[in-house]
């Protein structure tokens, strides 16, 4: 009894705030849910998805809900189910590890639309989307190749999945374009976000001679270490300048907001369809933060040329010849790695040190 009144109050309240803020016809029946793998305070991956969620609220006036730090696995299925049952009709699940759970819940709720980030399985009501972060990495590669004095880039990596390997390879390909002697040292931390572990990895890499720290993990802690130790660093997912004003060369920004607003709009007006989106510089899904003033003008100019080239399609980061660590040609001269090769990438390009964990 108490429960049902309580629910009604909350329900009415949600509707009321939705209408008041939006003044749009469909606003009251479109509710958008988000499932994050990390805390929104990570200032990286989940933080940027949350920025996208806020854009939906601001621009469309829709009611949105989020659940943060959801474990990939059985917990995710429960959370996604709960959101679907609670009347959310568009649900974004923003980590690769939510893939099977998203598809499973989507089967039970055919009228709810799902958007799964970085996955590869779709169905009638499950779309997938991701960003071509490697385009940003390739530009950054040019910058770090020029900036390193020790010719050693330290790279903190999360899990050896194609997404992450692609980023490492794009970096070395960019760096070797401007500096054939440069090499990358990789530390695998087996987590997406763990400030302590990430910071320790940064220290270890600097001790091994790295004077640029890059990362494929979500917290700004490696940048803080870089700032303290006086080496360069590159921000991840969001502009992390406030954490390392001197050290951050630039940052690769995941800009989800335009995509999220567009998809929520499509859900509202009924034009939503299941599809796969892989956006880069061109669609604005990947952006670079302001360049550090300490970067020489000619390096900035070069980086901008590469960025513009990728945007207009004249430059492809994975253009041949590309050799693996053993020196075997994987992509021959004159060819470009297709999306299938990129999506299943499971080898290091020449110049990366160490063995790929298998």
């Amino acid at each position: 009894m108490f429960g049902s009144t309580w629910k009604k109050t909350i329900g009415a309240l949600a509707v009321a705030t939705g209408m008041a803020a939006a003044g749009q016809a469909a606003a009251e029946d479109t509710k958008v849910g988000f499932v994050y793998v990390g805390p929104i305070s990570d200032h990286g991956w989940s933080y940027m998805h949350n920025v996208g969620r806020e854009a939906i609220e601001k621009e469309l006036g829709l009611t949105t809900t989020y659940v943060e730090s959801v474990n990939e696995g059985p917990d995710a299925e429960r959370v996604i189910t709960k959101l679907a049952k609670d009347g959310h009709n568009l649900i974004f699940t923003t980590s690769f590890g939510f893939m099977n759970q998203t598809l499973k819940v989507a089967k039970r709720f055919p009228n709810v639309k799902f958007e799964h980030a970085t996955g590869f399985r779709r169905s009638d009501n499950v779309s997938t989307y991701s960003a071509r972060f490697y385009e940003g990495r390739y530009v950054v590669g040019h910058i770090v190749g020029k900036m390193t004095k020790t010719n050693t880039i330290g790279y903190i990596a999360s899990f050896p999945i194609p997404e992450v390997i692609r980023g490492i390879n794009a970096t070395i390909l960019g760096a070797r374009k401007v500096n054939p002697d440069v090499q990358i040292k990789v530390v695998w931390v087996n987590t997406w976000v763990d400030p302590g572990k990430e910071g320790d990895a940064a220290k270890a890499l600097i001790d091994q001679g790295a004077d640029v720290i890059m990362q494929h993990t979500d917290s700004p802690s490696p940048l803080q270490v870089a700032q303290n130790r006086g080496v360069w660093a590159v921000g991840q997912a969001s502009d992390m300048k406030t954490f390392a004003p001197k050290s951050q060369l630039t940052a690769i920004i995941d800009n989800w907001a335009p995509y999220y607003v567009a998809r929520a709009k499509a859900a509202m007006d009924g034009s939503w369809k299941s599809e796969d989106t892989w956006g880069g510089f061109k669609s604005g899904m990947v952006q670079l933060a302001d360049y550090n003033e300490a970067i020489p003008a000619d390096v900035v100019k070069l980086a901008e040329e590469v960025r513009v080239g990728i945007t207009d399609g004249s430059i492809h980061p994975f253009a041949g010849p590309i050799k693996n660590q053993a020196g075997e040609v994987i992509v021959p001269e004159g060819e470009v790695a297709d999306d299938k090769t990129l999506l299943g990438m499971n080898f290091y390009v020449e110049g990366v040190q160490g063995e790929l964990p298998q």
Binding site: G3, T9, V67, E68, R78, L83, P160
Partner: protein, 365 residues
Amino acid sequence: MLLKLESRGEISRSMLYATPLIAVVLTLITGFFLFVFLLDPSKNASAFDALYTFFVDPVIASGGIAELLVKATPIILCAIGLSMGFRANVWNIGAEGQFVIGAITGTIVVLAFYDVESVFILPMMMVAGTLGGMAWAAIPAFLRTRFNTNEILVSLMLTYVAVLVLSWAVHGPMIDPDGFNFPQTRLFHDSALLPIIWEGTRLHLGAALMLLVVLAAWLIISRHLIGFQIRVIGMAPKAASYAGFKEKKLIWLTLLVSGGLAGFAGILEAAGPAEQLVPTFPQGYGFTAIIVAFLGRLHPVGIFMAGLLMALTYLGGENAQIMLGMPKSVTGVFQGMLLFYLLATDVLIRYRVRIGSAVAKSANA
């Protein structure tokens, strides 16, 4: 001003069982005030509504009890095993690792018989999972009985090894061949999945097996000679050795039982809600189980209740996020408060607090 703790001597039995309840009540009261300050005014919900959302709504929601049992099953199974050892002063801190190894050895059976439809697959998986957990716990047992190493350190460190073994397995030999090189095993086929025992929910056979384990543990602890020996070793090791109880045997026994149950829990979790192995498979159930074992006073029925309560804090935390826009940290805060109040009340039933040295002196005299 000096605060002094003074032993109360004999501990009241009823207080011993009352303190977990007192801790829960204190947590609720503190939580109430926490919600008063935390609630987003725009959500227009009172602190009572918040407590309701946190502690009641997850249970009464459709399928809520099923979800609660699904979440609690691995925690309770691990805690039951651990409590056996804790009673005998054998400190297995590595249930998490045994849980992971059990899941791996059980999954080996799944992959070896992939797509084979047979009723024997599940029992084989369970046996393999249990044996895997036992084998992992046998390492600290061997080192303790042979070299007198500290089983706390050994079992804890082996947890990290187990997680890395899992990472290696799902990146390498057990990787899904159709998975775009992503680190995961294949999804289990139907014969390798635990049957759902409540249609329309995720409640699987594992929860029923967990209940059986709780009952069996209760019988053993209260009725069986082994249960008596475990208790005596824990309370008075010297008396136990005079009575001819073999300490080494009990170390082996308690570690193998706790490891076996953790491994069993691991394969149940894999064959239940997880349906495959991924690097993030371990969720800390083995560690949560330590808290649950103590919250439940090392008693099987207490552990069952404590496990459900702990599971409820997870579900309630999610609810608070979805319905009230609260941060995820409220889950951790509630779990922390629960443990804090339990420990605090524990101290207070064992000791009385004296203020000032003069009073203490006269009391001593």
